[in-house]
Structure formats: C-alpha cells, structure tokens
C-alpha cells in the first residue's frame, strides 16, 4: 500500500531545508554586501557614480590592485606547493611520528600571522639572535629583506599552507589502496601514480584549498600591513585601511568601491576553480581500505629532517620568540636569569579582567561559529553539489565575499546593518557578542563550505540513494549517512574556522564592547599601547590553551569516525 503517496512531507522537508538555508546565506552573506554596495553607489540615499569614478580613476587603486594580484597569486602558489607536498608526504609515505608532525604543522595557524611575521622580521633582521650566533647578521641599518613583495608572499604562503594541507589531507584519507595499487601494478612508478592517479582524483580538495588560499591571501590585512607599509608596497586591504585613516568625507563610499574591487577579483578566482571542477568525476567508492604508505627507504631520514626543520622554522622559532618576549619586563631588555619574570603572565591572567573574558569570549565564539557553520554547510553543500542550479551557483559565489573583504569592511557593513534594533522583533545586536558572532558566521562560512563541498565531490551518491530507498527522509539521510561520510572534510573546515576565528582581530576591532572583548582586540590593544610583553604573554597563553584543547580531542578520538582528526591515523 502507498499511504500519502504524494510525498508532501518529503517535499516539505526538501524545500523547507533548501529555502531555510538560502535565507541563512542571504542574511549572512548577501545582506551585509548589499548594504555596503548601497553605500558605494548611493552614499546619501541618492544614486551617484561619483565615488566609483573617483576611486577607479586613481592610479593608486590600480597599482594596489596589481600588487594584490601579485601577492595573492604568489602566496597561493607558495601555500599550495608547501601544503601539497606536506600533505602528500604525510599521508602517503611511511614517515615516523606522523601525528606529531601534523599537529605541529597545523598549530601555526593559530599564532596570529602578525606574530609569525614579527618573529621572522627579528630572525632575518640585524638584531637576530640566530644570525648573530652564526655571524651572519646583517649590518645595523641594512634593509630587512622581508619588507618586500617577496617577503609578503613568503609569509602569506607559509601562513596559509596548513589551509591547503588540511583540505587535501581530508581528501587523501578517502583514497583507497586499490587505486594506488592498480597504478603500481600497471608498472607505474610512485611519481607517475602520484601524477596520473592521486592528483587528478584529489582535484576537488586541491581546488578547494587553492580557492581558500587565494581568497585568504587576497583579503589578508595583517601581513601586508606589517611588511608592505614599511616596504612601500600597497595592496587593496591596506589601501582601504589607509582611506579609513584619511578622514575625508565620503570615506565609506570609497571603501565600498574598493571592497567591491576585491570582491570582483575573488569572484573571478572562484569562477576559474568552477571551470576546473566541471565535467569530471572524482567519486571514490569508499569501501576499500585506506592506502598503504609508500616506503621511502633511504630517503626517509632526510625527508623527516626536512619536515621537522620546517616545523622549527615556522612553529618553534616564532613560538620561542613569543615566549622569550613574554618573560622579560619590557621590550628589548636582554633576557638573563635576573631579568626573567612571570609578571606579564600574572598580569594577563589575574590582573586583567578583560583578557580573561576575552579568552572565554573568543573560545566560545570560535567554537560556536565552527559548529554552527558545519551545521549550515553540510546540508548546504548537499544542494550545491547535488542539486545544481543557477541560484545555488550564485550562493556558492556570494559566500566567498565576506571572507575576501578585509575584516574592517565587514565590520562596517555589520554596523550599518545592526546599528538600529532589528525590525519586527526590536532586539538590538549592537554592542553585544552577537554582532561579532554574526560576522564570524558570515566571514568564515566559506572556510567550512569549501572543504565540505570537496568532501561531497568524493562521495559516491548511491550511498545516499541506498538510504533513500531504505525510506530515510532528507534530514535523517543527512545525519546518519552523509554527515559521517563528509565528517573528515567537515572537521577540517571546523578546525580552520576555529583556529582562524580564535585570533581574529580585524572584525572585532570595530565591533567589540565592554564584556564582548576578543583575544585579538586585547592583543592588539597591548601591542598598540607599547605593552608588547603583555601581548606576547597573552599570545603564548593562547597557544598553550589551544594546544591543550586540540590534544584533548585525542581522548574522544576512538568514538569518532576514522579519518576525522587530521592528527590521528
């Protein structure tokens, strides 16, 4: 018998979910953008092309655009190269201490890029303790090589390599042994297998990684601000900030037009990646067991040495610099047994209420954002990948924008939106943690969506159809079948969101209020006030707390589906 043969409940669930998700995306991504765009084309409520003409006819705009493209492309290429090599080596070869290395490779993501850049500046500068020790320190007054486009590209590449690494590693974990063995049995060497089987199959996560890295490099403000301002190398985000500081009338209109320029570049980038993904099949039947590692034989030790040297350069040295800076009483005081002090930690932990609050706030908001975004993106990606339509294509693009724009611009858009209490309900989000959380959701949505979409591309859809045939409606299928299958990709996304949001500064710098401080804000306040020892102590504490949190996930690892935690085989 066929009761309710029309299936209205299924349709209701289907369309309800789809339109619900579209509404969420509209509110998170489209609304702030539209409000900002309005400011650019109709500053006082009247249409005017004046700002657009003014900004677009300035030579600075175009040189900054050119610089943005150079650093974004360069940073992307570098981060993809590093992330790819490391992900392949870690996932496919028999190196030892794999989990420990993965952990150390991912960890630098949560040290703010400015801190890493600062540590490297000192490392390569005249005051470098390392270069001094080996007698290679540049002379006092020589120009630091990092103050250059190459320096920006280098630090961007290093900063976002874990991003490519995480998405690619999630993909590599679904690569079945049989596919590799088939290639090897066909007489292909490991490198041929890599080139002809692994990389083509890994196109979706790779493209996701490339896209994320590109947009991250494009929208990054901290690194070009630290290295590009002294290096006289202006990119769009620093140009926007400069406009804001310029105090002229019509600032917002200029900022809006420049932001749209960044958005345009980001959209072109994403369209290109769509082109790379179209009309190919990347599905992998996941029933075969995970690939057995290639044996490196005599190359194992050198490869391991290379990987750990990397960790020392990118994690250990900046961290050491941070810790050293946090145990001296003031900047530049040489560290000796006599001068060493824990007073900075004491102040940050017990003498400063806001710092403690900020730690809780940042943790709570990053974790909430990570979980909420996974809850949004897993069903959203279902529609984006398996129910293609023009509308969903647009959604896929528009989600990218809040992440591509500098945080300060998104914050301005949020102010414009939420300054007045919400219509109908009369609630005001302004000056609460909720407006910051809203921005986190809007900004980091894409960090969750990209890995999850790449995860979907690798699922054989009959797995879902099998459960549909078994009678499961959409929501149940999403929870019981699809979520476990995309869990590795979703965790990678959640991790990216958490680590990025945890030390985020540019959004909250405009939106925080008493009680709604974030770590980034406090860190920035300390640094700006010249209290960089407090800032260092806070930074070091953050690293310790997050490391502990990340390690604690190992405790419940046995209850998670395999492959979910990047640092656990």
């Amino acid at each position: 018998m066929m009761p309710e043969a029309t299936g209205w409940r299924e349709r209701f669930e289907d369309y309800g979910l789809l339109w619900g998700l579209l509404l969420v995306v509209c509110i998170l991504s489209v609304l702030p953008l539209a409000r900002l765009l309005l400011e650019g084309i109709a500053p006082q409520g009247e249409l005017s092309a004046e700002a657009a003409t003014r900004v677009l006819s300035e030579a600075t705009t175009w040189s900054a655009t050119r610089h943005s493209l150079v650093t974004a492309l360069g940073g992307t290429i570098l981060s993809v190269a590093i992330g790819c090599v490391v992900a392949l080596v870690v996932s496919l070869t028999d190196i030892r201490a794999r989990n420990a290395f993965v952990f150390c490779f991912v960890l630098p993501m949560m040290i703010a890029p400015q801190v890493v850049a600062l540590a490297w500046l000192q490392l390569f500068g005249p005051a470098s303790p390392l270069l001094k020790a080996i007698g290679m320190a540049p002379a006092m007054g020589s120009r630091n090589p990092l103050y250059s486009p190459q320096g920006i590209i280098l630090v961007l590449g290093v900063q976002y390599a874990p991003l490519v690494f995480l998405t690619l590693r999630a993909g590599l974990r679904t690569l079945p042994r049989a596919l590799l063995e088939a290639g090897l049995a066909g007489g292909a060497g490991p490198f041929t297998v890599l080139r002809t089987i692994v990389l083509p199959l890994m196109t979706p996560p790779l493209v996701a990684g490339i896209a994320l890295s590109f947009v991250s490099c494009l929208g990054n403000f901290g690194i070009p601000a630290l290295l590009g301002i002294p290096g006289n190398y202006l990119v769009l985000p620093t140009l926007i900030y400069q406009r804001l500081a310029g105090l002229g009338p019509g600032v917002l209109a200029d900022v809006s037009v420049l932001s749209m320029l960044i958005g345009f570049i980001a959209v072109v980038g994403i369209l290109l990646q769509d082109l790379m993904l179209s009309r190919r099949d990347f599905r992998i039947s996941t029933t075969s067991s995970v690939a057995r590692p290639f044996e490196l034989h005599r190359w194992r030790a050198p490869v391991e040495a290379g990987l750990w040297t990397w960790s020392i350069l990118v994690l250990a040295l900046p961290l050491l610099a941070l810790i050293l800076a946090s145990v001296v009483p003031a900047v530049g005081v040489p560290l000796t047994l006599k001068t060493a002090t824990l007073a900075n930690y004491d102040f940050v932990m017990f003498g400063h209420d806001a710092a403690r609050r900020a730690l809780f706030n940042s943790f709570g908001m990053s974790a909430t954002a990570a979980v909420a975004i996974v809850a949004i993106t897993v069903p959203l990606a279902y529609f984006v990948v398996w129910r293609r339509s023009r509308l969903l294509h647009f959604v896929n693009l528009v989600i990218e924008m809040p992440y591509a724009l500098p945080g300060v611009v998104l914050a301005i858009a949020a102010i414009l939106l939420f300054l007045k209490p919400l219509p109908l309900v009369g609630l005001s989000l302004y000056n609460t943690v909720w407006i910051i959380l809203f921005c986190y959701l809007a900004r980091f949505l894409v960090l969750g969506l990209r890995p999850v979409i790449s995860g979907y591309y690798q699922i054989d859809r009959t797995l879902e159809e099998a459960s549909q045939i078994a009678g499961a409606r959409l929501l149940r299928r999403l929870v019981t079948i699809i979520l476990p299958l995309v869990a590795p990709a979703a965790t990678a996304g959640a991790l990216l969101i958490f680590l990025t949001a945890f030390n985020e500064l540019t959004v909250s710098a405009l939106l925080w209020s008493s009680g709604a401080e974030t770590l980034g804000v406090i860190f920035f306040s300390f640094q700006q006030g010249g209290d960089s020892t407090y800032a260092a102590a806070l930074g070091a504490l953050t690293v310790v707390v997050t490391t502990a949190l990340m390690l604690s996930t190992l405790l419940m690892a046995s209850r998670l589906p395999p492959g979910v935690l990047p640092w656990r085989d």
Partner: protein, 366 residues
C-alpha cells in the same frame, strides 16, 4: 500488490533521449530482466522506477498507485522498494549489522524485533558471524550478500537489482545467480534485474525486456526471445544470431514458410501473419548451419577465420554470392578446415523476423 506498470515513459537529458516511450508491465511476483548494452537506457529506467529522477512524460504505477507522472512524483523513500546497487553502496561507517538494520530503524522497528530480523536476514545470506564487521573488511561476494540482506530485510514487494553481479568473478557469479533464483522462489518478490549479460538474464528471468537506444525492443520469455526475436537488433544481440536477407516465397498455415537465401530454399519458422515478400530478414543460429558436400543443396561460403574454442572450432565465413553477408558456425574437433577454404552450408532452421509495425518505425525515426 507489487505489479509494476510503466506507460509510455520518456526522459531526455538535453538533446539525448535516454528513454523513448517505454512501456512495460511486470506482474506480481515476476522476475523480469532488463537486458541491454551499456548506454541503452536500462539504468535510466531503473532510476525512474526508483524515483531518483523525474520523468518527462508517461507514468509509472506500483500496484495501483501512480508513483511517477508529469506532475506527480512520489519520492524514492516512499516507494517501499528495495535496490541492490551495482557498487553495493554499503555505508562504510556502519557495521554489517547496522547496514542491514538501517531500513528497519527508519521504519520505526525497534529491538528486539529489529535485531531478530537482522539476524534472520544475515542467516539467509549465510553471513552469521559477520554482523560486527565493517564493509571494508569483506570480500566482494560478502559485500554483495550484505547488500542483498539489507535490501530484503524490510521485505519490499518490489526489488530492483542493478547489475548486481558485474563486479564479481566468474565462479562467484554462478553461485550468486543460484542465490537470486532461490530468493525469488522463496519470497515471491517482484524483481527487476538490470543486466548487460544475456546468459544471466536467461538463467534467472521469467521474462526479459531487451532495450536499445532508449527503446524497449521486445519483452518475452527467454526461449521466445531466442527462438522468435521480433526485431533485428534483438536477433543479433541474443545468442549471437545472424540476420540475413531472405525472400519469403510461400507461407504455409502451420507457422512455417519457404524462404530463399541466395538461391538456397529453406523451410523457416515465421509468424502466422507473415506474407510472402522479397524483402524479409531471417535470424539464423550457428546450430542451424551444417557443412554438406559440395553437390548437396546449400549455399557456398568461404572461411575467414577458424578459432579454437575448446572441443570445437568457431568458423567465421562470408557467402560467396554476397561477400557482405557473414555467417558463423561451430565444427567439432578435429577439423582440417582452414581460412580461405570454400565450403557448402546447409541451413536446417531459421526464423523470419516479422516486419516492424508502422508505429514503432516512426518511433525509431525520432
């Protein structure tokens, strides 16, 4: 009530017509095979029956209920059918028992009833003791059985099998074929079996529907299909039939006629409605051909290839009178026949393919 009715169903993907006015009636409890080469539309048809895709025109009924029509579409999860997928589609994150139990859980069946039925299903497919394994640790045949158990545990009245043996080795195929046959006998479930392998279809099915280029060519019992194909394509596809032009001279009332094949007049079977015609086509089998001495009645041919096939040779030859007409036959070992040699062939039997009905000609022209 698991009668399946497919009425003039069409489906296009862009300019490509994947299903072209397909109509099919499957009786309750029948084992129907849908046979065709890859790309013929059989998988599209299966997806229509399952409800994964919406149709462009026509309608599909399960029992008396319309499940697919232009403005009506019962979602797959409401159709209460079972599918065994070609890839098995076992959920890698669940154990065997969880895979099998899923449909019951969804239907609201709770323990102990659920675990009892799961255990029974696993016993049925001889997988006791595998309940807690993960699918990744099973062999191909075991996965196939899990897929079958998962499909059958909810006792669907209609089961679709999508090339279920395609991924198995030859030995396993034979035993799984037996298994399907036993199942069908035991449960009386209506089964739709999609395959490209005619031996499989013949061995298992009550009736076979042959598909080509999105059209249903013929629906008949295996023997009918073999002996009396109504379509040239079917004739050529099933049992390696040879389709040759003949002239029907005279039709006898007993369902036979006299047909002329390059001057060799042969008694062939034909449809009762067959009329004498100069332009007819006949379907011959290898077993219909025998080599006779040059003086006997027959048709001359020249051997192109002689292929040893264990116990016999397969001879491939062309008619001397019409080199474009190719024939093949088997001759027992030992044989001195070599390529290039000339032979005289006697045709012992044949089937005159009925002329296509006007309507289906039109359909082909589309």
């Amino acid at each position: 009530m698991a009668r399946l009715t497919i009425e003039r169903v069409s489906k296009s993907f862009g300019a490509f017509r994947a299903l072209d006015e397909v109509s099919l009636e499957v009786a309750d409890g029948e084992f129907m095979a849908i046979l065709g080469a890859s790309g013929c539309g059989k998988t599209t048809l299966l997806r229509q029956i399952a409800g994964f895709d919406k149709l462009d025109s026509g309608r599909i009924l399960i029992g008396d209920a319309t499940v697919s029509a232009l403005h009506q579409h019962v979602p797959p999860e409401r159709r209460r059918i079972g599918i065994v997928f070609q890839s098995y589609a076992l959920w890698p994150h669940m154990t065997v028992a969880e895979n099998v139990a899923y449909g019951l859980t969804v239907a609201g069946v709770r323990d102990p009833e659920r675990s009892r039925r799961v255990a029974a299903a696993l016993t049925l497919v001889e997988l006791d003791g595998f309940a807690e394994r993960r699918p990744a640790l099973l062999s191909g045949g075991q996965r196939q059985r899990v897929a079958l158990a998962r499909c059958l545990v909810t006792e669907p009245s209609l089961v679709l099998l999508d090339e279920p043996l395609a991924n198995l080795d030859v030995n396993l195929r034979a035993s799984m074929e037996d298994e399907f046959a036993r199942f069908h006998a035991r449960t009386g479930t209506t089964m739709i079996y999609i395959t490209h392998d005619q031996a499989e279809a013949m061995a298992l099915a009550d009736r076979i529907a042959v598909m080509d280029k999105g059209r249903l060519l013929q629906v008949a019992t295996p023997s009918q299909l073999y002996r009396e194909p109504t379509d040239e394509t079917v004739a050529g596809f099933i049992g390696e039939g040879m389709v040759l032009p003949v002239e029907v001279r005279a039709v006898d009332g007993d369902g036979t006629c006299r047909a002329d094949l390059c001057g060799h007049v042969v008694r062939m079977r034909c449809a009762p409605s067959q009329k004498p015609t100069r332009k007819a086509r006949a379907c011959l089998r290898a077993s219909d051909l025998t080599i006779v001495p040059p003086a006997s009645a027959g048709v001359d041919a020249r051997i192109d290839h002689a292929i040893y096939q264990g116990g016999h040779f397969r001879l491939e030859a062309h008619l001397e009178a019409a080199p474009q007409m190719r024939v093949h036959l088997d001759v027992p070992e030992p044989s001195a026949l070599r390529p290039g040699q000339s032979i005289r062939l006697h045709v012992g039997d044949g089937w005159v393919i009925p002329a296509a009905v006007e309507g289906s000609r039109e359909a082909r022209a589309v």
